[in-house]
Structures are given as structure tokens and as C-alpha cells.
């Protein structure tokens, strides 16, 4: 018996979510009184996993796996789980891990719970809390199969250090021709900017900003905070901002530590996408805007006056705390 965790890397370097899922895996392993094995795929230096409670690392290095390929990656994780006799397999909620998880679950004949936000409330029966109804509720879900697959929500557990031995072993899963039926032609990625998925802080603008020409201050605020920029649905529908920034029920979910909403009314579909952000700040000229009910901090005021002031004050704050 063991807990297996897939620790995702990109160009050899672990993503932050890898440390979060490892931290979570350690907590689950403690509950089950067992050890944590991590599988890495083409990661250059696995020693970093030691700090997060990983007892053993299976390093799969294989040129065929240089580009992400869901079927082959899922097969590698499945083979690792079988080799380690894993009863619980844990993945993150990155786009790639969400692609993999159901394939891994079917491969292992394992029940799968996604969007999990806490360690199991009980391990017999094995019960986890996860978000449902697009963050409008939680469900306490029992996984009844022998092997369990968990998809951990981003930022739900955080990083917890636990030093461990992290013995390294190389791991050579085998593949069939069908595992490589999806061929990547091109990748179009904004590498210079923080993405909504990875951001600790997200600065988001709505229709209250009046037009795309006014996004300079949103971007400047984001830059001061090291934040990603986002927007409400009408803003992307109007073409003021790219679709990839659209946040909400029909757009992207945001699970950042801080979400700043400027000139966004706070419609239920928008809130559904940001409910799992920890701290919400709202700037809106209308004191009746529904967003104030969902916010932790609010400023009733004109964005065109408040945001420049906020940028200035944050710059002062940064200079003092540098």
C-alpha cells in the first residue's frame, strides 16, 4: 500500500502545484499510515520533492514523453500506481492533470473525485469534500472502489514542508503505438505573463471600465502586484480582452489568494468562477452592486480615481517593504 502522487513539471522544472499535491499526498499518507511515492516525467532534479514529504521518487525519463501526451502520461502513472500497489493516486487540477485524471481512473478501475479541497474527513469509508455546482456548494463524496483517484483543487491545501528521504529510482513504463495518436502541431503560450491558472493574485476588470483603451491601469496594477489580468464575460465578448481572460461559470475558474474586481457587477455567473479565491476586493461606483455582498474589502468609488491611487499606494508600500 502507498500513496502515489503525480508531480508535474514543465521543461524539467516542477510546477508549484507539484509541491502542493506532494504536501497533500503526505497528509493523506499520514492518515493511512503509509508512504508517499511521487512519479515525475522528465523532471531534471527531483531532490526538491524531499522537502514536501516524498519518500520515494520514480523518475520516468523518456524522449517520447517530452511533449505532454495524455494517453501516454496516464499510462505511465497507471503503471507506477500498479508497481507501487498504490491505493490512492493524487493529481493536481492543472489543465493537463485534469486531462489525465479520468484516463488514470479508468485504467486503474478506480473511483475518481475531482475538485477536492480538504484531506479526507474519513479514510474508512473514504470520504472527501469537493466543490460542486460551480463553487456554489460542497459535496462530501465517498469513494467506494479499492483504488481511489483524487484531483486536488488548486490552492486548497497549500504548501506544507515535511522533510523526507526521497529515494530516487528510475522508472521505465512501456507504451503501445496507440499511446501517441495525438500529435502536437503548435503551442501558443504567453510566457512573459503570469497566467490566471498559476497566479496568486488576479486583477480583473468589467464593463465598468468602459473600453479597452482603459486597460492600461488594470495592467499596471497587475504589474505592481505580480498578478495576472482577467475580465468579466461581456468584456471578452465585446473583444476588449482575449477570451482566455474571461473568468466565471462559462470561463475560467480562479483560485487565487487575492482577487481584485474593478467595475464588475458581481453577477452570479461571475461569482461562481471566483468563489474559491480567498480574499476578494471590489471597486465599484455603485454601492448596491451585488459584488459587495461577496467581497471581503470594498471601495465604493469611480475606478478611474481609485485604481490610480491604489497603484500609487502599492508602489509606496513596495518601496518601503523592499
Amino acid at each position: 500500500m502507498s500513496v502515489l502522487v503525480y508531480t508535474e513539471s514543465e521543461q524539467g522544472a516542477f510546477k508549484k502545484v507539484a509541491f502542493e499535491v506532494a504536501s497533500y499526498a503526505k497528509a493523506v499518507a499520514n492518515q493511512l499510515d503509509t508512504t508517499v511515492t511521487a512519479i515525475t516525467i522528465n523532471a531534471s532534479d527531483s531532490s526538491e520533492l524531499k522537502a514536501y514529504g516524498v519518500d520515494k521518487v520514480l523518475n520516468a525519463t523518456n524522449a517520447q514523453l517530452d511533449g505532454f501526451n495524455a494517453k501516454a502520461y496516464a499510462s505511465a502513472i497507471q503503471q507506477a500506481a500498479q508497481q507501487e500497489n498504490a491505493t490512492v493516486v493524487i493529481l493536481s487540477s492543472s489543465a493537463n492533470s485534469k486531462y489525465l485524471s479520468p484516463l488514470v481512473a479508468v485504467g486503474l478501475n478506480a473511483g475518481f473525485a475531482s475538485n477536492v479541497v480538504e484531506v479526507p474527513s474519513s479514510t474508512a469509508p473514504f470520504t472527501v469534500k469537493r466543490t460542486t455546482f460551480t463553487n456554489k456548494a460542497f459535496s462530501n463524496t465517498e469513494i467506494t472502489s479499492d483504488v481511489k483517484v483524487i484531483g486536488l483543487s488548486k490552492n486548497a491545501f497549500g504548501l506544507v514542508e515535511n522533510s523526507a528521504s526521497a529515494i530516487n529510482e528510475s522508472f521505465s513504463p512501456s507504451f503501445g503505438d496507440n499511446d501517441f495518436n495525438i500529435n502536437v502541431q503548435s503551442v501558443d503560450k504567453a510566457t512573459d505573463k503570469v497566467t490566471i491558472a498559476d497566479a496568486e493574485i488576479v486583477v480583473s476588470g468589467g464593463r465598468g471600465l468602459k473600453g479597452p483603451e482603459n486597460w492600461g491601469m488594470v495592467e499596471e496594477l497587475a504589474e505592481v502586484l505580480g498578478a495576472a489580468t482577467a475580465c468579466s464575460k461581456p468584456v471578452s465578448d465585446l473583444g476588449w480582452r482575449p477570451h482566455s481572460e474571461h473568468v466565471g461559470q462559462t470561463g475560467k475558474p480562479v483560485a487565487s489568494n487575492l482577487y481584485i474586481a474593478i467595475g464588475i457587477s458581481g453577477a452570479i455567473q461571475h461569482l461562481a468562477g471566483i468563489n474559491s479565491s480567498k480574499v476578494k476586493v471590489v471597486v465599484n461606483s455603485d454601492p448596491e452592486a451585488p459584488f459587495f455582498k461577496a467581497a471581503d474589502y470594498g471601495v465604493v468609488g469611480d475606478a478611474f480615481e481609485v485604481v490610480p491611487k491604489l497603484i500609487e499606494k502599492l508602489k509606496e508600500f513596495k518601496a518601503q517593504n523592499a
Binding site: Y99, F133, A137, N183
Partner: protein, 248 residues
């Protein structure tokens, strides 16, 4: 090309979410049900294939008789026939097994499912049917072209997008982007009349056990009220974010 679109029957996005029977059941009282938004994009893309390249389009739902109006709506939008697997959709794998059986019996070239449904948000059914049938699979698909048996798909990745090529039979987990929102269709009177005559077949479920069970539900804790900061005192906001919220 033979296309199957998986249709999830979900509460309308503005629905208030409540639970009954000791927080063990979703309270459908007063809730309006709709085609899952991610599936609606897929259905419209299927219509595009039908009209531009020629294809037959079936829709399928795993659910009780109460989901039939949602399937009829898909027929009114233009699907040729509907299948309802007569079973309560207990969990992702159970649904996926029913769908896999429909897919295998129907010999579909392309299966379009939504990336996730907006009720239980499992995000697992498309991947699971791919796992069960062995078909090629592209998740979070935002564009799809098919030429003969070759497919080119674009999928959303963290921080960008990726274009891939593959071949049919193919399963996609689709979302907004497959078509523009302005291209989504509202059934017109003619469509609604025609839908009444189109076949809606009810099939009994094949075996397949659930592996998960939602035991209880809970709503997020009530939020404390918002702390308002005066627009002339933005210093205070910065200090609150640093000292109290500890997020900067």
C-alpha cells in the same frame, strides 16, 4: 460522419442551489433545467458539421424521463435523433459506461461531450468514455476541424492553447470557443414542431456500478459582511491587505 453529442441536463446558471432531505439531495424545486452550456457549444459545432460537410447528429443523455424536454430542445436545435439511457446518473463512471455502450453500438466517428457539467463539475465523463472505448481524446477543446478521417483540434492549456492533429474515431471534451456564443441557436417554432416527430429512443442501462457517492452536501459558510474602505483612504486598503488579509 456520424456524430454523437452528449447532453447533460443541468440547473440553469442562475439557479439558487439548495438541498433537501437532510442535505442529501439537490432541491429541484423551482429550478429550471437547461442543456449544459459546454454541451451547447458542442451541439452547435455538430450542427455546423452537419450543414457544411454533411453529418448525422444524435444526442444522448443518461437520465430519467424528466430530462426529455432537454433532449427535445436539442432535437429542435437540429439533432436528428435522441437517445435516453433510462437510469439515474449516479456518478461519472456509471454515466461513462452507459455512454460507451451507446457509442460502441452506434459506431460513431465523433463524440462531442462537454468539458464538464455545471452541476457536479466532475470533468470526468469525456475522459472516461475515451478510456473505456480506446478512442482518441482531446480535452478542453476550443476548435475542431475534420477532413475525412483526420481531425485538427485546438485545446486550451494553462496560459495558452495548443493545436493537435489526430484521427477519428475521436472524443472531445468541448467548451466555449468550439463556436462563438453569438452562434448558439435558440429553437424556433419550426424546429420545435419538427422535434416532436423526431425519434427519441429510450434504452435500458447496461451494467456498470458507481464508484463514488455524494453522501451529503453543504453550502459555503455565510460570509461576514464586506469591510468598506473610503475612496479617499486607499492607504487603509493597502494596510488591510498586508496586515489583516496577509495577501500582499
Amino acid at each position: 460522419m456520424k456524430i454523437l453529442v452528449c447532453i447533460s441536463h443541468v440547473p440553469d446558471t442562475t439557479s439558487k442551489i439548495n438541498f433537501t432531505e437532510g442535505d442529501t439531495k439537490f432541491d429541484t424545486n423551482g429550478v429550471q433545467f437547461v442543456i449544459n452550456p459546454n454541451d451547447e457549444f458542442g451541439l452547435t459545432r455538430a450542427m455546423w458539421f452537419k450543414e457544411k460537410q454533411g453529418a448525422s447528429v444524435d444526442v444522448v443523455n443518461v437520465g430519467g424521463p424528466e430530462t426529455e424536454p432537454t433532449l427535445r430542445k436539442a432535437l429542435a436545435i437540429g439533432a436528428d435523433s435522441a437517445i435516453r439511457v433510462n437510469a439515474i446518473a449516479t456518478d461519472g463512471i456509471f454515466v461513462a459506461k452507459q455512454l460507451a455502450s451507446v457509442i460502441e453500438n452506434g459506431g460513431y466517428d465523433l463524440v462531442i461531450a462537454g468539458r464538464e457539467s455545471i452541476d457536479y463539475n466532475g470533468g470526468m465523463v469525456p475522459g472516461m468514455i475515451a478510456g473505456l472505448t480506446g478512442a482518441n481524446f482531446v480535452n478542453t477543446c476550443i476548435n475542431l476541424e475534420v477532413d475525412g478521417t483526420n481531425a485538427t483540434a485546438t485545446r486550451e492549456i494553462d496560459g495558452g492553447k495548443e493545436t493537435v492533429t489526430t484521427s477519428l474515431p475521436l472524443i472531445i471534451g468541448g467548451q466555449k470557443g468550439l463556436v462563438e456564443e453569438s452562434d448558439l441557436r435558440i429553437p424556433n417554432m419550426r424546429g420545435i414542431m419538427m422535434a416532436r416527430k423526431k425519434p427519441l429512443t429510450v434504452v435500458e442501462p447496461t451494467s456498470g456500478e458507481a464508484q463514488t457517492k455524494d453522501v451529503t452536501f453543504q453550502k459555503p459558510a455565510e460570509k461576514g459582511s464586506v469591510k468598506l474602505v473610503d475612496a479617499d483612504n486607499i492607504d487603509e486598503l493597502v494596510s488591510l491587505l498586508h496586515n489583516e488579509a496577509k495577501v500582499i
